[in-house]
Symmetry: C2
Subunit: 200 residues, 2 copies
Protein backbone atom coordinates (compact mmCIF):
# COMPACT_ATOMS: atom_id res chain seq x y z
CA UNK A 1 0.00 0.00 0.00
CA UNK A 2 1.45 3.43 -0.92
CA UNK A 3 2.12 5.85 1.94
CA UNK A 4 -0.51 8.54 2.24
CA UNK A 5 -0.56 11.69 4.33
CA UNK A 6 -2.80 12.27 7.35
CA UNK A 7 -4.77 14.79 5.26
CA UNK A 8 -5.39 12.20 2.60
CA UNK A 9 -6.54 9.68 5.20
CA UNK A 10 -8.94 12.22 6.71
CA UNK A 11 -10.27 13.14 3.26
CA UNK A 12 -10.82 9.47 2.39
CA UNK A 13 -12.59 8.89 5.70
CA UNK A 14 -14.85 11.89 5.06
CA UNK A 15 -15.55 10.72 1.51
CA UNK A 16 -16.75 7.38 2.91
CA UNK A 17 -18.92 9.09 5.53
CA UNK A 18 -20.56 11.35 2.92
CA UNK A 19 -21.36 8.40 0.68
CA UNK A 20 -22.64 6.32 3.60
CA UNK A 21 -24.91 9.18 4.73
CA UNK A 22 -26.50 9.33 1.28
CA UNK A 23 -26.85 5.55 1.27
CA UNK A 24 -28.53 5.37 4.72
CA UNK A 25 -30.81 8.28 3.73
CA UNK A 26 -31.85 6.60 0.48
CA UNK A 27 -32.28 3.04 1.71
CA UNK A 28 -32.70 3.21 5.50
CA UNK A 29 -30.51 1.40 7.99
CA UNK A 30 -31.51 -2.13 7.02
CA UNK A 31 -31.54 -1.35 3.30
CA UNK A 32 -28.01 0.06 3.29
CA UNK A 33 -26.33 -3.17 2.23
CA UNK A 34 -22.58 -3.52 1.75
CA UNK A 35 -23.13 -3.57 -2.02
CA UNK A 36 -25.07 -0.29 -1.86
CA UNK A 37 -22.43 1.25 0.41
CA UNK A 38 -19.85 0.33 -2.24
CA UNK A 39 -21.96 2.00 -4.93
CA UNK A 40 -22.61 5.20 -2.95
CA UNK A 41 -18.95 5.62 -1.93
CA UNK A 42 -17.43 4.33 -5.18
CA UNK A 43 -15.07 2.21 -3.05
CA UNK A 44 -14.67 -1.49 -2.39
CA UNK A 45 -15.87 -3.08 0.83
CA UNK A 46 -12.23 -3.68 1.70
CA UNK A 47 -11.48 0.05 1.48
CA UNK A 48 -14.62 1.01 3.43
CA UNK A 49 -14.05 -1.44 6.27
CA UNK A 50 -10.39 -0.51 6.47
CA UNK A 51 -11.65 2.80 7.94
CA UNK A 52 -14.77 1.57 9.77
CA UNK A 53 -15.10 -1.76 11.52
CA UNK A 54 -18.63 -2.49 10.35
CA UNK A 55 -21.93 -0.88 9.32
CA UNK A 56 -22.73 0.02 12.95
CA UNK A 57 -19.43 1.86 13.22
CA UNK A 58 -20.22 3.85 10.06
CA UNK A 59 -23.69 4.71 11.31
CA UNK A 60 -22.44 5.75 14.75
CA UNK A 61 -19.66 7.85 13.20
CA UNK A 62 -22.33 9.77 11.26
CA UNK A 63 -24.37 10.26 14.44
CA UNK A 64 -21.21 11.51 16.15
CA UNK A 65 -20.54 13.93 13.29
CA UNK A 66 -24.08 15.33 13.67
CA UNK A 67 -23.63 15.65 17.42
CA UNK A 68 -20.32 17.51 17.01
CA UNK A 69 -21.72 19.93 14.43
CA UNK A 70 -24.70 20.65 16.65
CA UNK A 71 -22.41 20.97 19.70
CA UNK A 72 -20.44 23.71 17.89
CA UNK A 73 -23.65 25.69 17.33
CA UNK A 74 -24.78 25.00 20.91
CA UNK A 75 -21.54 26.36 22.38
CA UNK A 76 -22.00 29.70 20.57
CA UNK A 77 -25.76 30.07 20.27
CA UNK A 78 -27.54 27.38 22.28
CA UNK A 79 -29.67 24.31 21.52
CA UNK A 80 -32.70 26.38 20.52
CA UNK A 81 -30.60 27.80 17.67
CA UNK A 82 -29.83 24.23 16.54
CA UNK A 83 -33.58 23.67 16.37
CA UNK A 84 -34.12 26.94 14.51
CA UNK A 85 -31.49 25.88 11.97
CA UNK A 86 -33.18 22.48 11.47
CA UNK A 87 -36.50 24.21 11.03
CA UNK A 88 -35.13 26.75 8.56
CA UNK A 89 -33.68 23.91 6.48
CA UNK A 90 -37.12 22.28 6.52
CA UNK A 91 -38.87 25.52 5.51
CA UNK A 92 -36.48 26.08 2.63
CA UNK A 93 -36.49 22.45 1.52
CA UNK A 94 -37.33 22.09 -2.12
CA UNK A 95 -39.39 18.90 -2.62
CA UNK A 96 -37.60 18.41 -5.93
CA UNK A 97 -34.12 18.68 -4.40
CA UNK A 98 -32.37 15.36 -3.85
CA UNK A 99 -30.08 16.95 -1.25
CA UNK A 100 -32.96 18.32 0.82
CA UNK A 101 -34.78 14.99 0.65
CA UNK A 102 -31.52 13.36 1.73
CA UNK A 103 -31.36 15.60 4.84
CA UNK A 104 -34.90 14.63 5.84
CA UNK A 105 -34.26 10.99 5.10
CA UNK A 106 -31.18 10.91 7.24
CA UNK A 107 -33.21 12.29 10.17
CA UNK A 108 -35.66 9.47 9.53
CA UNK A 109 -32.90 6.87 9.55
CA UNK A 110 -32.14 7.93 13.12
CA UNK A 111 -35.70 6.96 14.04
CA UNK A 112 -35.51 3.63 12.25
CA UNK A 113 -32.90 2.35 14.67
CA UNK A 114 -35.24 2.89 17.65
CA UNK A 115 -35.99 -0.84 17.96
CA UNK A 116 -32.29 -1.62 17.91
CA UNK A 117 -31.55 1.09 20.51
CA UNK A 118 -34.24 -0.29 22.79
CA UNK A 119 -33.36 -3.94 22.54
CA UNK A 120 -29.56 -3.87 22.15
CA UNK A 121 -27.92 -2.36 25.28
CA UNK A 122 -24.46 -2.42 23.69
CA UNK A 123 -25.63 -0.46 20.65
CA UNK A 124 -27.49 2.00 22.90
CA UNK A 125 -24.35 2.55 24.97
CA UNK A 126 -22.32 3.28 21.82
CA UNK A 127 -25.07 5.62 20.55
CA UNK A 128 -25.14 7.52 23.85
CA UNK A 129 -21.34 7.82 23.84
CA UNK A 130 -21.48 9.26 20.32
CA UNK A 131 -24.15 11.80 21.35
CA UNK A 132 -22.24 12.85 24.45
CA UNK A 133 -20.65 15.88 22.75
CA UNK A 134 -24.06 17.45 22.26
CA UNK A 135 -25.29 16.68 25.77
CA UNK A 136 -22.23 18.15 27.45
CA UNK A 137 -22.19 21.23 25.17
CA UNK A 138 -25.84 21.85 26.08
CA UNK A 139 -25.20 21.58 29.82
CA UNK A 140 -22.10 23.77 29.65
CA UNK A 141 -23.88 26.47 27.72
CA UNK A 142 -26.78 26.44 30.20
CA UNK A 143 -24.38 26.57 33.16
CA UNK A 144 -22.71 29.65 31.66
CA UNK A 145 -26.09 31.28 31.07
CA UNK A 146 -27.19 30.43 34.60
CA UNK A 147 -24.02 32.03 35.99
CA UNK A 148 -24.81 35.15 33.96
CA UNK A 149 -28.30 35.28 35.48
CA UNK A 150 -30.03 34.68 32.14
CA UNK A 151 -31.83 31.47 33.15
CA UNK A 152 -34.74 30.79 35.47
CA UNK A 153 -33.30 29.64 38.79
CA UNK A 154 -36.26 27.63 40.12
CA UNK A 155 -35.41 24.56 38.03
CA UNK A 156 -32.05 22.72 38.09
CA UNK A 157 -29.92 23.17 34.95
CA UNK A 158 -29.89 19.41 34.12
CA UNK A 159 -33.71 19.46 33.99
CA UNK A 160 -33.66 22.48 31.65
CA UNK A 161 -31.11 20.64 29.49
CA UNK A 162 -33.34 17.54 29.38
CA UNK A 163 -36.30 19.75 28.45
CA UNK A 164 -34.45 21.21 25.47
CA UNK A 165 -33.19 17.80 24.39
CA UNK A 166 -36.71 16.33 24.57
CA UNK A 167 -38.04 19.11 22.33
CA UNK A 168 -35.16 18.47 19.90
CA UNK A 169 -36.16 14.77 19.77
CA UNK A 170 -39.73 15.83 19.02
CA UNK A 171 -38.59 18.19 16.28
CA UNK A 172 -36.39 15.54 14.63
CA UNK A 173 -39.31 13.08 14.71
CA UNK A 174 -41.74 15.69 13.38
CA UNK A 175 -39.53 16.76 10.48
CA UNK A 176 -38.51 13.18 9.62
CA UNK A 177 -42.20 12.33 9.26
CA UNK A 178 -42.74 15.29 6.94
CA UNK A 179 -45.48 16.77 9.17
CA UNK A 180 -46.45 20.47 8.76
CA UNK A 181 -43.87 22.84 10.26
CA UNK A 182 -45.45 26.28 9.76
CA UNK A 183 -46.40 26.77 13.43
CA UNK A 184 -43.06 25.71 14.81
CA UNK A 185 -41.18 29.02 14.81
CA UNK A 186 -43.63 30.28 17.41
CA UNK A 187 -43.30 27.00 19.30
CA UNK A 188 -39.52 27.47 19.55
CA UNK A 189 -40.12 30.95 21.00
CA UNK A 190 -42.23 29.30 23.74
CA UNK A 191 -39.44 26.76 24.32
CA UNK A 192 -36.81 29.48 24.62
CA UNK A 193 -38.94 31.52 27.03
CA UNK A 194 -39.44 28.33 29.06
CA UNK A 195 -35.79 28.29 30.14
CA UNK A 196 -35.21 32.05 30.45
CA UNK A 197 -35.19 34.03 33.66
CA UNK A 198 -38.43 35.82 33.01
CA UNK A 199 -40.99 35.95 30.29
CA UNK A 200 -40.49 38.95 28.05
Amino acid sequence: MPRVSTDQLAARRQHILDGARRCFAAHGYEGATVRRLEQSTGLSRGAIFHYFRDKDALFLALAEQDARRMADVVAEQGLVQVMRDLLETAHKADPASADDESDRSWLGTRLEVSRRLRTDPDFRERWEAHSAALTSATRERLERQAAAGALRDDVPVPVLASFLELVLEGLVSHLAMGLPAEDLDGVLDVVEQGVRRKRT
Copy 2:
Protein backbone atom coordinates in the same frame (compact mmCIF):
# COMPACT_ATOMS: atom_id res chain seq x y z
CA MET B 1 -72.01 -17.26 7.42
CA PRO B 2 -74.06 -17.38 10.67
CA ARG B 3 -75.63 -14.14 11.80
CA VAL B 4 -73.75 -12.46 14.60
CA SER B 5 -74.75 -9.56 16.82
CA THR B 6 -73.19 -6.09 16.67
CA ASP B 7 -71.52 -6.83 20.02
CA GLN B 8 -69.94 -9.96 18.62
CA LEU B 9 -68.69 -8.06 15.58
CA ALA B 10 -67.15 -5.37 17.81
CA ALA B 11 -65.55 -8.01 20.04
CA ARG B 12 -64.10 -9.81 17.02
CA ARG B 13 -62.77 -6.54 15.62
CA GLN B 14 -61.13 -5.70 18.96
CA HIS B 15 -59.65 -9.21 19.20
CA ILE B 16 -57.99 -8.69 15.82
CA LEU B 17 -56.68 -5.25 16.84
CA ASP B 18 -55.18 -6.62 20.08
CA GLY B 19 -53.42 -9.44 18.23
CA ALA B 20 -52.18 -7.08 15.51
CA ARG B 21 -50.80 -4.65 18.11
CA ARG B 22 -48.76 -7.47 19.69
CA CYS B 23 -47.60 -8.54 16.23
CA PHE B 24 -46.48 -5.02 15.15
CA ALA B 25 -44.77 -4.58 18.52
CA ALA B 26 -42.89 -7.87 18.24
CA HIS B 27 -41.88 -7.72 14.58
CA GLY B 28 -42.11 -4.07 13.51
CA TYR B 29 -44.22 -2.77 10.66
CA GLU B 30 -42.33 -4.55 7.87
CA GLY B 31 -41.90 -7.74 9.87
CA ALA B 32 -45.61 -8.11 10.62
CA THR B 33 -46.37 -10.43 7.71
CA VAL B 34 -49.83 -11.80 6.97
CA ARG B 35 -48.71 -15.19 8.31
CA ARG B 36 -47.57 -13.61 11.59
CA LEU B 37 -50.79 -11.61 11.84
CA GLU B 38 -52.67 -14.91 11.50
CA GLN B 39 -50.58 -16.44 14.28
CA SER B 40 -50.96 -13.51 16.68
CA THR B 41 -54.73 -13.21 16.17
CA GLY B 42 -55.41 -16.96 15.84
CA LEU B 43 -57.56 -16.16 12.78
CA SER B 44 -57.26 -16.75 9.06
CA ARG B 45 -56.25 -13.97 6.69
CA GLY B 46 -59.77 -14.18 5.26
CA ALA B 47 -61.26 -13.40 8.68
CA ILE B 48 -58.75 -10.60 9.39
CA PHE B 49 -59.19 -8.84 6.07
CA HIS B 50 -62.97 -9.18 6.31
CA TYR B 51 -62.68 -6.55 9.05
CA PHE B 52 -59.71 -4.52 7.78
CA ARG B 53 -58.94 -3.83 4.13
CA ASP B 54 -55.20 -4.38 4.41
CA LYS B 55 -52.21 -4.12 6.76
CA ASP B 56 -52.20 -0.33 6.48
CA ALA B 57 -55.83 -0.22 7.58
CA LEU B 58 -54.99 -2.37 10.64
CA PHE B 59 -52.04 -0.19 11.55
CA LEU B 60 -53.99 3.05 11.14
CA ALA B 61 -56.90 1.64 13.18
CA LEU B 62 -54.43 1.01 16.03
CA ALA B 63 -53.07 4.56 15.72
CA GLU B 64 -56.65 5.84 15.81
CA GLN B 65 -57.39 3.78 18.92
CA ASP B 66 -54.35 5.34 20.63
CA ALA B 67 -55.42 8.81 19.57
CA ARG B 68 -58.97 8.28 20.92
CA ARG B 69 -57.74 6.93 24.26
CA MET B 70 -55.38 9.88 24.63
CA ALA B 71 -58.12 12.29 23.53
CA ASP B 72 -60.34 11.02 26.38
CA VAL B 73 -57.58 11.80 28.90
CA VAL B 74 -56.90 15.17 27.22
CA ALA B 75 -60.56 16.23 27.49
CA GLU B 76 -60.55 15.67 31.26
CA GLN B 77 -56.97 16.32 32.29
CA GLY B 78 -54.99 17.77 29.38
CA LEU B 79 -52.15 16.59 27.14
CA VAL B 80 -49.51 16.96 29.86
CA GLN B 81 -51.41 14.28 31.82
CA VAL B 82 -51.20 11.98 28.79
CA MET B 83 -47.42 12.46 28.90
CA ARG B 84 -47.32 11.85 32.66
CA ASP B 85 -49.24 8.60 32.12
CA LEU B 86 -46.80 7.48 29.40
CA LEU B 87 -43.90 8.31 31.68
CA GLU B 88 -45.41 6.48 34.65
CA THR B 89 -45.88 3.39 32.51
CA ALA B 90 -42.21 3.65 31.51
CA HIS B 91 -41.06 4.07 35.14
CA LYS B 92 -43.06 1.06 36.26
CA ALA B 93 -42.11 -1.07 33.28
CA ASP B 94 -40.69 -4.40 34.33
CA PRO B 95 -37.94 -5.40 31.87
CA ALA B 96 -39.07 -9.02 32.29
CA SER B 97 -42.70 -8.24 31.47
CA ALA B 98 -43.70 -9.10 27.92
CA ASP B 99 -46.67 -6.70 28.13
CA ASP B 100 -44.50 -3.75 29.18
CA GLU B 101 -41.98 -4.51 26.42
CA SER B 102 -44.91 -4.72 24.03
CA ASP B 103 -46.04 -1.19 25.02
CA ARG B 104 -42.58 0.22 24.36
CA SER B 105 -42.25 -1.73 21.12
CA TRP B 106 -45.55 -0.44 19.84
CA LEU B 107 -44.34 3.15 20.43
CA GLY B 108 -41.27 2.22 18.42
CA THR B 109 -43.37 0.86 15.57
CA ARG B 110 -44.90 4.31 15.22
CA LEU B 111 -41.38 5.65 14.54
CA GLU B 112 -40.56 2.94 12.03
CA VAL B 113 -43.18 4.23 9.62
CA SER B 114 -41.50 7.66 9.46
CA ARG B 115 -40.01 6.97 6.03
CA ARG B 116 -43.41 5.87 4.75
CA LEU B 117 -45.10 8.95 6.26
CA ARG B 118 -42.58 11.22 4.60
CA THR B 119 -42.59 9.66 1.17
CA ASP B 120 -46.20 8.50 0.78
CA PRO B 121 -48.60 11.52 0.85
CA ASP B 122 -51.68 9.26 0.80
CA PHE B 123 -50.48 7.30 3.85
CA ARG B 124 -49.60 10.55 5.64
CA GLU B 125 -53.06 11.95 4.96
CA ARG B 126 -54.69 8.82 6.41
CA TRP B 127 -52.35 8.97 9.45
CA GLU B 128 -53.20 12.62 10.08
CA ALA B 129 -56.93 11.88 9.77
CA HIS B 130 -56.56 9.08 12.34
CA SER B 131 -54.71 11.41 14.74
CA ALA B 132 -57.26 14.18 14.35
CA ALA B 133 -59.18 13.17 17.49
CA LEU B 134 -56.15 13.96 19.64
CA THR B 135 -55.36 17.25 17.93
CA SER B 136 -58.90 18.57 18.25
CA ALA B 137 -59.23 17.39 21.88
CA THR B 138 -55.99 19.23 22.69
CA ARG B 139 -57.14 22.48 21.07
CA GLU B 140 -60.59 22.31 22.68
CA ARG B 141 -59.16 21.72 26.13
CA LEU B 142 -56.74 24.65 25.71
CA GLU B 143 -59.55 26.91 24.43
CA ARG B 144 -61.60 26.10 27.55
CA GLN B 145 -58.61 26.79 29.77
CA ALA B 146 -57.89 30.03 27.97
CA ALA B 147 -61.51 31.13 28.47
CA ALA B 148 -61.11 30.36 32.19
CA GLY B 149 -58.00 32.57 32.31
CA ALA B 150 -55.70 29.67 33.18
CA LEU B 151 -53.41 30.01 30.14
CA ARG B 152 -50.82 32.58 29.19
CA ASP B 153 -52.47 35.00 26.76
CA ASP B 154 -49.40 36.28 24.90
CA VAL B 155 -49.23 33.22 22.63
CA PRO B 156 -52.07 31.98 20.38
CA VAL B 157 -53.73 28.76 21.54
CA PRO B 158 -52.81 26.83 18.34
CA VAL B 159 -49.12 27.56 19.01
CA LEU B 160 -49.46 26.28 22.59
CA ALA B 161 -51.19 23.16 21.24
CA SER B 162 -48.34 22.61 18.75
CA PHE B 163 -45.83 23.07 21.56
CA LEU B 164 -47.47 20.34 23.66
CA GLU B 165 -47.77 18.01 20.66
CA LEU B 166 -44.10 18.50 19.79
CA VAL B 167 -43.07 17.57 23.32
CA LEU B 168 -45.33 14.48 23.12
CA GLU B 169 -43.53 13.46 19.90
CA GLY B 170 -40.20 13.85 21.68
CA LEU B 171 -41.40 11.78 24.62
CA VAL B 172 -42.67 8.97 22.40
CA SER B 173 -39.35 8.93 20.54
CA HIS B 174 -37.35 9.02 23.79
CA LEU B 175 -39.28 6.17 25.43
CA ALA B 176 -39.34 4.07 22.26
CA MET B 177 -35.54 4.28 22.17
CA GLY B 178 -35.31 3.15 25.79
CA LEU B 179 -33.35 6.26 26.82
CA PRO B 180 -33.15 7.25 30.54
CA ALA B 181 -36.39 8.77 31.82
CA GLU B 182 -35.57 9.72 35.43
CA ASP B 183 -35.30 13.47 34.77
CA LEU B 184 -38.49 13.69 32.80
CA ASP B 185 -41.04 14.29 35.58
CA GLY B 186 -39.35 17.63 36.23
CA VAL B 187 -39.25 18.30 32.49
CA LEU B 188 -43.01 17.85 32.24
CA ASP B 189 -43.43 20.39 35.07
CA VAL B 190 -41.45 22.88 32.93
CA VAL B 191 -43.68 22.04 29.97
CA GLU B 192 -46.87 22.57 31.98
CA GLN B 193 -45.62 25.89 33.36
CA GLY B 194 -44.77 26.92 29.80
CA VAL B 195 -48.43 27.12 28.83
CA ARG B 196 -49.86 28.42 32.10
CA ARG B 197 -50.81 31.99 32.87
CA LYS B 198 -47.99 32.62 35.26
CA ARG B 199 -45.10 30.72 36.71
CA THR B 200 -45.83 29.46 40.21
